[in-house]
Amino acid sequence: MAFLEIPNVRIKGMAATLPANRKDNLTDPLVQDGEKILKNTGIQYRHVASETLCASDLCEDAAKRVLQGLGWEPESVDCLVFVRQTPDYILPATAVLLQDRLGLPTTSYAIDLAMGCSGYVFGLSNIAALMQTGSFKRGLLLVGDTISRTCSPNDKSTYPLFGDAGTATALEFDETAANLKFSFGTDGAGKDAIIIPDGGSRNPFTVDSLKEETIEEGIVRSKLQLVLDGMDVFSFGISKGPKSVKELAEHFELDLEKVDNFIFHQANLFMNEKIRKKLKIEEDKVPYCLQKFGNTSCATIPLTMISERAEILKNAEQTHVACGFGVGLSWASVYFETSKLVVSEIGFIN
């Protein structure tokens, strides 16, 4: 387990933007037995991007609104980190495009991180590490995906679960900020549990990549679409999620009973509740937005904070533990504090 402690960086504001188009698992003709899915996974609604809407569009909108809320000029932002699995292009990096679209100075630093479910925590560690010396005063952490566009509509193991979202977290160099405390883990041996097999350099796109295969009843997909081995991911999540949070608490001598909010990656309710119970955390400290938005890949942690905790984030000082786990396999936890954040209302675009 890798640990990091980063001083001098404060989270100042957050925003999220979703596709306006919303699907309902209870009425979607492509979803069989939506009531059972709702009961077991906690997922009912999913906001789904059209073919022309990218994760960067969602994040751009969220970023503009967070800058507006803080009264920050785009020229005052020194660095941008974009965390995603669904970039605009294979190259160039989408963060660089976002520098231009947001009007950030050409002297700014911009980089993509290709991470999924654990990506918000990894991204936070990256941007905070960049900013901790004060060379960069203001930073934007943009985290989002249009992961629904990677799911086969004929795959019951992915299609009903995933929604799309883009988020923006604004950070500032501040020597009075409480330290951010992280723990990380990585296990590439589990790569096949969540994967899009074709289209990269290992298995380049061919005509065969488009061929739809029946994996089992209710699971038909091509090799350009998302594979999710639910059993392996579940087994991984219920063991690594609690372990990651426990190791964070032990290493940094945190009293988990005193933490106000536990924000977990929103995978599915059955798995998340197992994790919560293993950690013996009270229900009211663990917010969920699964029913409203489904699993939105790397965006779930900030989206849950904005959707379920906006008022308290705006008005109070709060302590948080966030934990992301999934594709890679990869997992990460962070302890952080917030005080009177600028939180924008959730935005919707077409």
């Binding site: 077991n40 081995d229 059993m231 392996d232 579940f234 087994s235 219920i238 063991s239 059955f270």
Partner: protein, 76 residues
């Protein structure tokens, strides 16, 4: 590992199948009630009761309850 206890815990993950239908030789993946959700319940039960992490392949490669119990035993 106590076989009767394992079978009882295994049976508890099913809502409709009668407990007395479960024996060491039961081919659990052929049971009418078997689905991916029950599989997750079994994974969670093994994790909680035996502190053992079983994979999707462990379940897919086991035919009978006894097969799966051997997997759990080998990972303890």
């Amino acid at each position: 590992m106590d076989q009767n206890e394992f079978i009882q815990l295994f049976a508890e993950q099913f809502d409709e199948t009668e407990p007395d239908e479960f024996t060491p030789e039961t081919e659990f993946r052929s049971l009418e009630e078997w689905d991916s959700m029950v599989a997750l319940m079994i994974i969670a039960m093994v994790d909680e009761e035996y502190n053992v992490k079983i994979s999707g392949d462990d379940i897919r490669n086991s035919n009978t309850i006894s097969d799966l119990m051997k997997v759990v035993e080998s990972k303890k």
